[in-house]
Symmetry: C2
Subunit: 334 residues, 2 copies
Amino acid sequence: MTDTPRPSIDALTALLANDMKAVNQVILDRMGSDVPMIPQLANHLIAAGGKRMRPLLCLAGAFAHQGKQETADSRALLLSAAVEFIHNATLLHDDVIDESDKRRGRDTANALWGNEASVLVGDFLFARAFELMVETDDIAVLGMLSSASARITEGEVKQMTMAGKPDSPLQDYLDVITGKTAILFAAAISSGAHVVGADKALVEALHNYGLSLGMAFQIVDDALDYRSDLAAMGKNNGDDFVDGKITMPIIIAWQEGDEAERAFWQRTIGEGEITDGDFEAAVAILDKYQAIEKALAQAKDYAEQAVQSLAIIKDDALRSALTDAAYYTVARTL
Amino acid sequence: MTDTPRPSIDALTALLANDMKAVNQVILDRMGSDVPMIPQLANHLIAAGGKRMRPLLCLAGAFAHQGKQETADSRALLLSAAVEFIHNATLLHDDVIDESDKRRGRDTANALWGNEASVLVGDFLFARAFELMVETDDIAVLGMLSSASARITEGEVKQMTMAGKPDSPLQDYLDVITGKTAILFAAAISSGAHVVGADKALVEALHNYGLSLGMAFQIVDDALDYRSDLAAMGKNNGDDFVDGKITMPIIIAWQEGDEAERAFWQRTIGEGEITDGDFEAAVAILDKYQAIEKALAQAKDYAEQAVQSLAIIKDDALRSALTDAAYYTVARTL
């Protein structure tokens, strides 16, 4: 994904721009360590940016309860930095696991500093995230985020055990992305509301919003991997195919496919025997069954579920910005 | 290290035997997951045992405040399982980093399941540890353990950046082992007291005990790596030498050594050019300067500092058992 402006998420970033500046300062202040390699490596990853979806959601959660503040509540700032640290810890570990060389168009930390450093600095960021949460003095958010963190790893382990199995049931894929993506979206926005004192109804509604948003986001992200026309967006097309990663389009194509096609999936995604032209052949099969379109349609359903959870939000600007963010997850593909 | 009886730590294990049974049950109950690979891998590591020093210390902390209970306070049980999970998470990640094939005489998890699984299950255990701590409802212990966890990784990163540098100052080594070992010993016993309501004086005294005990323990552990007569104890002698790890005997021998010896350390530990007979030559240089004995003498100083912190403990049996445990760290070498 590039950093070019995207209207539909810009409403949310504009609304929270001041608060995000403050969060970025907390992030910079709190990734420090007397051991110089830690801030060097952390800075390489965190400064590289990305959309900062999770701290944005966390701040949106606080906004939903408190309304617009001059500056966001300091507890929400700490918590927003914490969720970004958790996310970046998982990215560092993912890059070790995937042996990735590139992320967000830059060399990965493991390519530059080695796997050892990436594992350890990931652990550091995770521990530091919990230190920041302790400072909020809200043990319930520690419960939400520690539980989310456990489920993230469960999702990733499940994804690993599914790799190379194109006959996996769709529910397994949904379990994987619930864990690896949607749970942290849900925890970010709901804990942002809880930490500033929101009641149960709002916290639950925002949890549901984040969960549906995360599902839509990840389904689309996975589907984009088979859209070679989007290579300009910085996606590494075909990575999932080469890695044998099982995503929704593959499951759909397997379920609807004939014997010859299943043999193709088994040889490529299953056995990892991939030669020139196989990716194009894979895309052709997916097109035949409109597998990408069907995946995107499911993502759209999730986006609509997300929007339905927003009725509880009183502030028009925030509700509108979060609505846009939900539709943006789907719109960016078209 | 083997599981053969060692009198001086046995007093502590006997005193806390009932509680440790309960902790082991919590450990087994709480490493479960719907993703089967997680309990499989966690069980492989955790069931392999070890001395369970950290949960023992945590239970001792609770005992120090509450006195002997029929069964230890449930909060202390949860916390004891949590510190063991944190420790095992670091072991899983260490084995990935060191590319170790064996731990406690068994194949390592990364050798059996791969690095990916070890990284992720380590993350899972870490997250689960924080979930258990949340259940104690004592946010201060979350602060103690999250801060300890950050310092563990700082110690390990520092150890990594020191590797291959035999001219490192002694203080750097002390910083490394404070982080990678002593801090968790300190946090285990002091948080065990805090979680059952101990006052500041007891919590601080126990923190100091754990810190000194951990220093003694790690200095001895590192020194043993050069004692080939202890190979029967299950130690992999010479691993640190081959890995270029900088420990106290090496620093002493470098500081006292002549130019030829420094060239030897530079070639072997520094450049990793190790051939047959080099380990024996290293041991001979260490013997010449009594470097191992000097390291053990420093460990003994720490053990004595640990014992001095115990004056505050009222229960004679506990104070005696913790005294034995402190001297045991040094005695096991002789």
